[in-house]
Amino acid sequence: MISLHHYLTVSALLFALGLAGLLVRRNMLMILLSIELILNAANLSFVAFSSYWGDLSGQAVVFFTMLVAAAEVTVGLSIAVLLYRKKDTTDTRELETLKW
């Protein structure tokens, strides 16, 4: 029988993979994709807890997380397009204007 631990382990695995992508990749689009992966892992653990405790509030939280992620990704993508227009690249190593 599949228990809560199984779902939480999958969620932790997805979260760790997303974190590795976030830290390793240097392309801004890839960083945004990794953030999506991390949010998705968090959603999975919310839904798992919600199902096992028989309380739908966890799924409402997932609903709000998705809305916030949608807003975040649209703004992030438009910033990426703007960067590409100004600097002709989306590589975060090139963006060192704020570096002291």
Partner: protein, 163 residues
């Protein structure tokens, strides 16, 4: 028994697709792998009886947001393949070590949780609607403002003569 098999199929698919997202060299393949990972996660949501959330995940996330992603990827670096940094430099190795450590720690925490029994309340549209327009009506209305703010900021940012 059938659900156990489905759980292992969906979770193996999600993890494999996540590995594909972070390792593939082309951004387009990464975005498509992310669509796969989202669909597999939606399968897990259905196994957990969260039907509305699973539907929204496929329709809004895999359907709309990632299509937007693909548009931007094709606009920005369709020709230039973005090479990943998986070299023998210290920073990527440390990053992978950090995430492995994070997983190990989280796994220890998960093992110590006393799990309750599987007692799902089916997350159908009717039940979720009652919850969202009853107990969570204020946050629900606030998300409308958040989306409006996002739309306005994207329009301002994407204007050709942004000052």
């Amino acid at each position: 028994m059938f659900e156990t098999v489905l759980f292992y199929i969906f979770s193996a698919g999600a993890v494999a697709a996540a590995i594909g997202v972070i390792t593939s060299r082309s951004s387009i393949y990464s975005a498509l792998f992310l669509v796969t990972a989202m669909c597999m996660t939606a399968g897990l949501f259905v196994l957990l009886k969260a039907y509305l959330v699973a539907t929204i995940l496929v329709l809004v996330y895999a359907g709309a947001i990632l299509v937007l992603f693909l548009f931007v990827v094709m606009m920005i670096d369709f020709k230039k393949t973005s090479f990943s940094d998986w070299g023998l430099k210290p920073a990527p190795i440390l990053a992978v070590l950090a995430s492995v450590l994070l997983f190990a720690l989280t796994f220890q925490v998960i093992r110590s949780i006393e799990a309750p029994g599987f007692a799902p309340q089916a997350g159908t549209t009717a039940e979720m609607g009652r919850l969202l327009f009853g107990r969570y009506v204020l946050p629900f209305e606030l998300t409308a403002f958040l989306l409006l703010a996002a739309v306005v900021s994207v329009v301002v940012l994407a204007k050709k003569d942004a000052k």
